[in-house]
């Protein structure tokens, strides 16, 4: 190792001398012009479906690397009960992971399955050349195209389909990652995984079951129904969790296929020790959340010190909890209480002081007790709040209802005629035909989950608004109606 370092220094020195200041800032990676790297032998590339990656290149020499990739249009599960027609590189979303080293000459065969309907191609961001290969790989169903390229720049790169309409091809899952390792490979780690985020646009809203077609308008509006890791909701949870043991270093190759959204990639409960920013040479340390643009990637690694489940999210957090961008890393092993104690003590927090709290024996006493003390105006104020939360959607802001659908509460003969019937409607719901102010309604009002006091307040508010008869409904009246049933 020492002698190698010495050689490095000497070579660097020679370069600095011969090339002047330009090369002074570059490190050893720039030692050899990658175009001059000579290949030794041929090998077939190992391709893997997410979340797995092929074996590291290690110290193998640059080779001619044969990559065979097949394009498949196929139905898959987006979420439980939700199906989607994915267009895929290699049968998975994201597509197969390709692992190369700098200087490799990749002979790439792109095959378009005969059952497919559409022509496709591939644009690899790791390619130096027109269209990133797209110009040479445009292939009709039932055909294949071969092209070749030399990997010149180390880094983690996105590849994707670039056939018109490009956005639709990407939105349907046509993206993946290609890694170009530097000579000698990346530093070795214990676990490596492949994760790629993508946003999906379906005709139905999130969760609507059945085979969901792609929605072009939503895609143009960037209004995603699903934002997921590895092509579907739950790809990295349940049976799909990625795992590690305490003390191991985990490296994640994280890409973002888009088509629209930038990922704020974060692992809850971990800090990235190293981030290859944007998948390139620049290494940032101690990062909480790294930004991964659509059509970009990042390499992150961290040592896991304590056991537990660590949640991978897009920290644009509604995407994680409402649209699917959530995965799990399960770490097993011995706890280290010094790093993370776990829960040490549970106590009562009481900002008013140390008096002993008593829990009531029975919920009903606590509800009725303070009720009698409320003034009419207090009841109306509280009732108005409840009305806004519970009744407003159907009966509308001024109690006017919606013609032919929801009866009015304003100047309502039905309401004013019978207060017990009104209480009963709120308590038990109301179905069937009724006549209100001369109009017939036949709709369903659901049973409301309100306390007696809340019912009293909201009805008092209604009776004291919009020209009604100003009845003051008490919790006692409510419980009376309740017990009469």
């Amino acid at each position: 190792m020492k002698s190698f370092n010495l050689t490095l220094i000497i070579v660097c020195f020679v370069l600095v001398v011969s090339c002047g200041v330009n090369d002074a800032s570059k490190d050893g990676a720039a030692l050899q012009d990658p175009t001059t790297i000579v290949i030794e032998g041929t090998m077939e590339a190992e391709l893997t479906a997410p979340p797995f990656v092929p074996a590291p290149v290690g110290d193998r020499p640059a080779k001619k690397l044969i990559v065979n990739m097949e394009i498949l249009e196929e139905v898959g599960a987006m979420a439980d009960g939700v199906e989607y027609v994915y267009w895929t590189f290699g049968g998975s979303v994201p597509g197969s992971f390709i692992r190369t080293r700098v200087g490799d000459e990749v002979e790439f065969t792109l095959s378009n399955h005969p059952e497919n309907k559409l022509p496709h191609n591939i644009d690899l961001h790791a390619v130096t050349g027109p269209g990133g290969g797209a110009t040479s790989s445009f292939v009709a169903p039932g055909h294949e195209k071969v092209f070749s390229f030399k990997t010149l720049n180390p880094g983690l790169y996105v590849y994707h389909c670039a056939t018109a309409p490009v956005g639709m091809h990407i939105a349907n899952g046509m993206y993946g990652l290609i890694l170009v390792e530097p000579a000698g490979g990346l530093p070795s780690v214990d676990k490596e995984y492949y994760i790629m985020q993508g946003d999906f646009y379906t005709k139905g809203e999130n969760g609507e079951p059945g085979l969901q077609p792609f929605d072009m308008q939503k895609a143009v509006d960037e209004d995603a129904d699903y934002v997921v890791f590895n092509g579907k909701v739950g790809a990295l949870t349940g049976d799909g969790v990625i795992t590690a043991n305490v003390g191991e270093t985990v490296r994640l190759y994280v890409g973002n296929g888009g088509p629209n959204l930038t990922s704020s990639f974060h692992v809850i409960g971990e800090i990235f020790d190293n981030v290859h920013v944007e998948g390139g040479d620049l290494i940032n340390k101690n990062v909480q959340t790294t930004s991964i643009p659509a059509g970009g990637a990042a390499i992150v690694d961290f040592k896991v010190d304590v056991p537990g489940t660590f949640i991978l999210v897009d920290h644009a957090i509604f995407r994680a909890f409402n649209k699917g961008a959530l995965g799990m890393l399960k770490v097993s092993g011995e706890e280290d209480k010094q790093i993370y104690s776990g829960e040490m003590q549970e106590g009562i927090y009481n900002p008013e002081g140390g008096t002993i709290q008593t829990m009531p024996d029975d919920g009903s006493t606590v509800v009725s007790a303070p009720a009698t003390n409320k003034s009419l105006s207090e009841k109306i104020a509280s009732g108005k709040q409840i009305y806004t939360q519970t009744c407003f959607a159907c009966h509308q802001s001024e109690g006017q209802g919606i013609p032919n659908a929801f009866p009015p509460l304003a100047k309502s003969d039905y309401l004013n005629a019978d207060v017990k019937r009104a209480i009963g409607s709120v308590l038990n719901g109301l179905t069937g035909e009724i006549t209100v102010n001369g109009e017939k309604y036949n709709s369903i009002m659901t049973k409301q989950t309100l306390t007696d006091e809340e019912i009293a307040d909201v009805l008092t508010y209604v009776y004291n608004s919009w020209g009604n008869n100003k009845t003051n409904v008490t919790p006692a009246m409510v419980s009376e109606v309740k017990s009469s049933h």
Binding site: V85, K117, H143, A164
Partner: protein
């Protein structure tokens, strides 16, 4: 009566008895239209012509290869049809069990389709003729601006294995023509006259704005997305290519 007329009448009689000799055609009234790739200044004029109501079926094609053995799978020149030509057939003149006589013929090359039509006294439609008829929905001759028209086309892209459906299984359009959308792609005479190809993405010529860049910049409406796919598939073809989802139908000029 001159012999030639007798022959024609004779042929005509023969046709009516043998159901599959000539497929039914309808008249398409000519007009002008602005194609996807056109601007307002570019109007294409279409003259009256007749078009097959349905795509050519497996059954019709079997009769064709029996009559013209050079188009049998075992005889065909590789120059005129690639290795997938009639790939799913059981033999030179027999379908496989899972294929239907009433399904559209696919896995045929442009050369084969062109020759088929010519042997019927017809020809392949031009790209503009095909597009002109295909812009109709059930009610109107140009429905390209309608959302449901485009959604129907887009939804077909996501339906697997439609090529085994029978002809006539989609809608009858304004011109009384079936299956232009929703069954199989169809060859046109000048399929590659509008280039959308891998090459054109970077090219600086006029065609390039049909590809990647313009799809992203200029066009947000569904019409273009639905049609782009059709132009893209044409751009990916060579004349000897055959595809499982690609069939054809014939047309002939009105005065013939």
């Amino acid at each position: 009566m001159r012999p030639i007329f007798r022959l024609i009448i004779c042929l005509f009689m023969f046709c009516t008895v043998s159901a599959n000799c000539q497929s039914k055609m309808v008249k398409i009234e000519g007009g002008t239209y602005i194609p996807l790739y056109g601007r307002d200044s570019l109007q294409i004029t279409i003259t009256d012509f007749q078009m097959d109501v349905y795509p050519v079926t497996n059954q019709q094609y079997i009769e064709f290869v029996k009559k013209y053995p050079k188009w049998k799978r075992s005889n065909v020149k590789k120059l005129f049809a690639d290795g997938n030509y009639l790939r799913d057939w059981k033999s030179d003149t027999l379908l496989n069990e899972d294929q239907s006589l009433k399904a559209p013929i696919t896995n045929v090359s442009w050369f084969a389709a062109k020759d088929y039509c010519e042997c019927q006294g017809k020809r392949l439609p031009t790209l503009d003729e095909w597009e002109y008829v295909a812009m109709a929905n059930k009610e109107m001759p140009d429905a390209r601006r309608l959302k449901d028209y485009n959604e129907f086309i887009l939804s077909w892209y996501e339906k697997p294995k439609t090529s085994t459906n029978h002809i006539g299984s989609t809608f009858k359009n304004y011109w009384k023509v079936y299956d232009l959308h929703g069954l199989v792609w169809e060859w046109t005479y000048d399929f590659n006259s509008v280039l959308i190809s891998g090459e054109s993405r970077k090219d600086v010529d006029d065609d390039s704005n049909l590809f990647c860049g313009s799809a992203a910049v200029g066009t947000t409406d569904l019409m273009n997305y639905a049609a782009f796919m059709r132009y893209a598939i044409r751009g990916s073809l060579n004349a000897n290519y055959t595809m499982k989802n690609l069939g054809f139908r014939c047309v002939k000029d009105e005065n013939n």
